[in-house]
């Protein structure tokens, strides 16, 4: 095939994903939008009636909302890993996943950002967390991990949005050329008048390299800061130096699973087999396997530290985690995160997308359970047996959680139909 024809085919194939949606798509959109609305109504109900409608009781005052926060921030991480770190390592298969992964990062952070607000008793004063000058000259406490969170997650979101947008800039120019009507106008404005001159490309290359370099340390730093929300306290089960690397590995693990969960159906629905190949899935399955091994190692070290630490509170916390009231969740977590991914040592399974989808869904479940188990069991069983307690979620918490999944997938479905799902210019470059 002539080059010009090849390039035109890439344009056509990838922009074809943005054609009129089918029935399944609209049904999916309706379901996710409904879940989002239900979540919103329940949040309004909670704001009106107070946090009492959630299942929070003493001593478990952090539960599903914080679990969801950590879960969604974690999901975001592998987006950055794929788009920034793999770019610096010049991994070719990155092109198949980067756009989808960057979109996932942005949407997951939008959802994650809601949870600290949902978790607040008085959501409307959330701005107390932001340092701003007042006539009282009172500033935030920069020694608090919760303020580090504001800075870490705020920075992460801003940089991810910039990275996402910059990556799409030349593709908007292609969409501008190929689309008609109001869409053409929107893409024209979004493309900022991009023409593809040597000056634009030269500065663009440098910009992309630097954004990747700036985003790379965020992969390690953001979830470390999130882990310090726990590790900086003295609660047994939380207070450990292991937390930062443990959380970072877990974040990449769960995010990679989410990328697989999103891209397998995307490839099938949009007929992108030519651009996202089984080889690419095999490579990303190796990342999943590798991070699973790190997470499993962290589980072992965590129990090891408790067993050999000579600290009875720590020992009790871990005995309770493995054998107490929430033991089924703990064992389900170990099954999903440590045992199931081991099967990916088999090459044939790594290349089987149906199997990979099942594994990735189980990993998502397992990683959600991991955060739940860490948060709830540690709080339920801390130092003094007199104040031990338990926790059961209410329908409000479950509904808001499902609503957040609805919101995430709704945003994702909108992304698929409105923005180029693969990086068209990068694919052409590698042709």
């Amino acid at each position: 095939m002539e080059n010009a024809e090849k390039y035109a085919k890439v344009d056509r194939d990838i922009l074809a994903a943005m054609e009129k949606p089918g029935r399944f798509y609209l049904a999916g959109l309706a379901v996710t939008a409904t879940l989002t609305v239900i979540g919103g109504i329940l949040w309004a109900y909670q704001i009106r009636n107070g946090l009492g409608v959630a299942g929070y009781t003493h001593p478990v005052n952090w539960a599903i909302y914080i679990t969801n926060f950590v879960f969604w921030v974690g999901i975001a991480h592998s987006g950055t890993l794929i788009s920034a770190v793999l770019f610096l390592f010049r991994a070719r298969y990155r092109t198949s996943f980067n756009r989808a992964a960057e979109a996932m990062t942005v949407f997951a952070l939008m959802v994650a950002g809601l949870y600290p607000l949902i978790h607040l008793g008085r959501s409307w004063v959330f701005y107390y967390l932001i340092p701003y000058p007042t006539q009282r000259q009172l500033w935030v406490n920069f020694r608090s991990p919760l303020i580090w969170d504001v800075f870490a997650v705020g920075t992460y979101f801003t940089v991810s949005v910039v990275f996402f947008y910059v990556g799409m800039l030349p593709d908007f120019a292609i969409a501008r050329r190929c689309k008609e009507g109001i869409r053409k106008k929107i893409y024209t404005v979004l493309s900022l008048g991009w023409k593809g001159t040597d000056r634009e490309w030269r500065h663009y290359g440098m910009l992309y390299l630097f954004l990747a370099a700036f985003a790379t340390p965020l992969v390690a730093s953001v979830h470390s800061v999130v882990s310090w929300d726990f590790a900086m306290s003295i609660v047994p089960g939380w207070h450990t130096t292991l937390f930062a690397p443990y959380f970072v590995a877990g974040a990449i693990f769960s995010g990679t699973a989410m990328v697989i969960t999103l891209v397998i159906p995307l490839r099938k629905a949009m007929h992108l087999h030519e651009y996202i190949t089984d080889d690419h899935f095999e490579s990303i399955a190796k990342i999943l396997l590798f991070t699973s091994l790190i997470v499993s190692y962290a589980y072992i070290v965590e129990f090891g530290l408790a067993s050999y630490g000579e600290n009875i509170f720590e020992m009790e916390a871990f005995r309770y985690r493995a054998l107490g009231e929430f033991r089924y969740l703990t064992w389900a977590m170990i099954f999903c995160n440590s045992l199931v991914p081991l099967t990916l040592f088999a090459k044939r399974l790594r290349r089987n997308t149906a199997y990979l989808l099942v594994v990735s869904l189980l990993v998502n479940v397992g990683m959600w359970l991991e955060r739940f188990v860490i948060i709830v069991t540690s709080l339920a069983h801390d130092f003094d047996p007199y104040v031990w307690g338990t926790y059961r979620p209410t329908y409000v918490e479950v509904g808001i959680s499902l609503g957040s999944f609805g919101l995430f997938f709704m945003l994702y479905l909108l992304f698929v139909k409105n923005l180029p799902v693969l990086s068209i210019t990068e694919i052409k470059e590698h042709l």
Partner: protein, 145 residues
């Protein structure tokens, strides 16, 4: 007005570009438009490295400085001991400074890119001129750049 050469093939385009430069046409008078970044073209035209990198440096350094200045000065303006920690607690302030280094660095790099590439370009948005997937060489008059 500019002379225009249009190619469908990347190799032919690069050959023509090389020939033009060998014939002694100064690189400043040549502009190229490509469907994706072609590093070889930049090399042939000996454009040098993009100055976007200086924006990255200045942004990152000012982010670090802002992070430390902000945390230290606000803590000193209301010196209240919290949790037995010193008023100026450097380790936690490093986290804020680190986050702002990355934030300011990334935003300033982006701003530098827009400035140096002269985007957003109203003329580009309005003109509706498209080159599709073609590789274009434009040779401008000596007068104008």
């Amino acid at each position: 007005m500019a002379d225009r050469m249009v190619f469908e093939d990347r190799k032919q385009f690069l050959e023509a570009l090389r020939r033009l430069v060998r014939e002694g046409l100064p690189g400043e008078r040549i502009r190229v438009i490509t469907p994706f970044g072609v590093p070889e073209a930049e090399e042939i035209l000996s454009r040098g490295r993009s100055n976007v990198r200086f924006f990255a440096l200045v942004g990152a350094v000012s982010g670090t400085a802002t992070g430390f200045a902000f945390t230290i000065l606000t803590s000193l303006s209301w010196p209240l001991i919290v949790g037995g920690k010193p008023i100026v607690s450097i380790p936690p302030f490093i986290i804020i400074a680190f986050a702002l280094t990355i934030l300011f660095g990334a935003l300033s790099t982006f701003a530098g890119f827009l400035l140096l590439s002269r985007l957003p370009s109203l003329r580009g948005i309005r003109s509706g001129e498209e080159h599709g997937n073609a590789f274009v060489i434009l040779i401008e008059d000596g007068e104008r750049r």
